[in-house]
């Protein structure tokens, strides 16, 4: 038994399991409370209180929500493809959870793993996230769901391009695809005259940050890009026929996506866990920045009206894509000029 524990591979595996367990449960908890926070913030933005009946300040509301979803009757449409109908909600959650395995929440012990193409893994998982919506819309055997599903996948695929291109500016500056390296490259402090500010990429790549946040909104099907699940236009879009926990899983998957994209945005642009004070405070700074971005997501939802589908496509292809390309060219020229004097 002692020999078993001495094997370094198994040790690494064991600690990886522990970290994964913590992150998984932590993120599931954060997601349920994110739903609560959204309702509260939405309420206050609309000059009303959010949920405040269940428990003190309504803090037990997510538990009530989950309980309600569990007890609802589950309808499966008669002509639906049963296997894919059951599979689609699961596919909504898994890619977002896999992204958490490469995000550096803090310095050394707070990272599950560091692969040297971490950013590409995030892009790969967001590409795989398209499937849940496409399959969910198709397997419901309902034309509104199919339309919603196809529209949503077309939207996600279009905005993935601009998202990937906007991250290339960051890669050029950090000279690495590994998320840990990118955070390390942002820990330097710059002196601009009397002001010292952190070398985060949000200051040197503001356009890329803007494009990334807009495409993040579109990737996660959040307003103002949520036409595919619009209540008024398409019944409920691709999750029309889903009830009970399957709908809950879709909902959960959407918020999990929001959190994972916000984590990546914090890592790429806001300096990850870097902040004043000792390095071990890293995770606190990470959580603070993450909360700021999550609040931004919620804020935008209740501020802007929904984009029509052709406006959405116009924005993704004709505005964001050329801007991202221009950003890459300018960044590359700057990096070359800095390297060659």
């Amino acid at each position: 038994m002692a020999a078993l524990f001495a094997n370094p591979d198994l040790q690494m595996g064991f600690w990886a399991f522990v970290k994964i367990f913590i992150i998984l449960n932590g993120m599931l908890g954060v997601v349920s409370y994110l739903i609560y926070v959204e309702r509260k913030v939405a309420g206050h933005m609309q000059a009303r209180m959010g949920p405040n009946r269940v428990g003190p300040l309504g803090l037990l509301q997510p538990i009530a929500d989950v309980g309600k979803l569990f007890f609802k009757e589950e309808f499966i449409p008669a002509e639906a493809n049963k296997v894919i109908f059951h599979l689609a909600p699961m596919l909504a959650v898994v890619p977002a959870l896999v992204t958490f395995s490469v995000i550096p929440f803090g310095p050394e012990p707070f990272i599950v793993t560091d692969i040297n193409v971490g950013l590409l893994l995030f892009l790969a998982m967001s590409s795989l996230g398209v499937y849940s919506i496409t399959l969910g819309g198709w397997s419901s055997n309902n034309k509104y769901a199919l339309l919603g599903g196809l529209r949503s996948s077309a939207q996600m695929v279009s905005y993935e391009l601009a998202m990937g291109l906007s991250t290339i500016g960051v890669i050029l500056m950090a000279n690495s695809l590994s998320l840990v390296e990118i955070v390390r490259a942002q820990t330097a402090i710059w002196q601009l005259g009397p002001i010292a500010f952190p070398g985060w990429y949000v200051f040197t790549q503001p356009l890329a940050f803007g494009i990334f946040m807009i495409t993040a909104l579109a990737e996660t099907n959040r307003a103002p890009f949520d036409l595919p699940e619009a209540e008024a236009e398409l019944v409920a879009g691709f999750h029309t026929e889903y009830s009970s926990m399957k709908f809950g899983l879709f909902f959960l998957g959407e918020f999990m996506n929001v959190i994972s994209i916000s984590c990546v945005a914090v890592t790429l642009f806001l300096g990850g866990w870097s902040g004043p004070g000792p390095e071990s405070l890293g995770i606190v700074w990470f959580m603070l920045k993450l909360s700021a971005l999550l609040f931004f997501f919620i804020w935008v939802r209740w501020t802007y009206p929904r984009l029509r589908y052709d406006q959405l496509m116009h924005l993704g292809w004709k505005v964001l894509l050329p801007l991202a390309l221009a950003n890459i060219v300018v960044t590359a020229l700057f990096v070359y000029w800095r390297a060659n004097g």
Partner: protein, 199 residues
């Protein structure tokens, strides 16, 4: 450890590719193909080709197969129904040809063969995979790289032109018919002039 992972992922790739060609429903075939691609991506990761593995998921599993699924859903294809002697004959010939190729492959494997010239490992720290690929791609293989951009442009133009479908044939303009019957306009207040056809 690596071999065990390879055996697992290789089996997954083989079984899912078999199910791609054996399954009746095209959507399920497409999903099994996605599984096959992801297993292949895992094998690429085992072979220290991380960039290629991730690009495999992003491009093949994440874009090309989504395109396939789009088309299958757009055409609203149901499960294939394949019966009849014609089809059994065709299937038999297909498996026979497959068997012939398989026998050839087995024969080739049974021969003695070795790998070509191995490039010696340079001393010093190895570049990460992506950096090394970037260095090669933009210096030695720059011309093919630019050509691929032209290929993609040609494909885009081709898809748009082919996808638009044919324009409608021009309708022959109608021959001028008989002139409409002359009816005096009714004066204001008076009832309309009687219809010339009504008698």
């Amino acid at each position: 450890m690596t071999e065990a992972l390879f055996v697992g992922m290789g089996t997954a790739a083989l079984i899912s590719s078999l199910l791609v060609i054996l399954h009746r429903n095209p959507v399920t075939s497409a999903l099994f193909l996605v599984v096959a691609f992801c297993s292949l991506a895992g094998i690429y990761l085992l072979l220290h080709a991380e960039f290629v593995g991730m690009v495999q998921i992003i491009v093949y599993a994440g874009a090309i197969m989504v395109l396939f699924l789009f088309v299958i859903m757009y055409l609203n294809l149901k499960s294939d129904v394949e019966t009849g002697i014609q089809i059994a004959l065709r299937r038999g010939i297909g498996w026979l040809v497959g068997g012939v190729i398989g026998a050839e492959a087995l024969w080739l494997f049974a021969k003695e063969w070795g790998v070509g010239p191995i490039v010696p490992e340079l001393p010093g720290l190895r570049d990460p995979n992506t950096m090394a690929i970037g260095k090669l791609l933009y210096t030695q293989y720059l011309f093919p790289f630019e050509i691929t951009s032209l290929i993609l442009l040609a494909a885009m133009v081709g898809v748009i032109v082919v996808g638009k479908g044919r324009a409608q044939r021009p309708v022959h303009p109608a021959k001028p018919g008989p002139p409409p019957p002359r009816v005096a306009p009714p004066a204001a207040g008076l009832p309309a002039a009687p219809d010339p056809e009504a008698s």
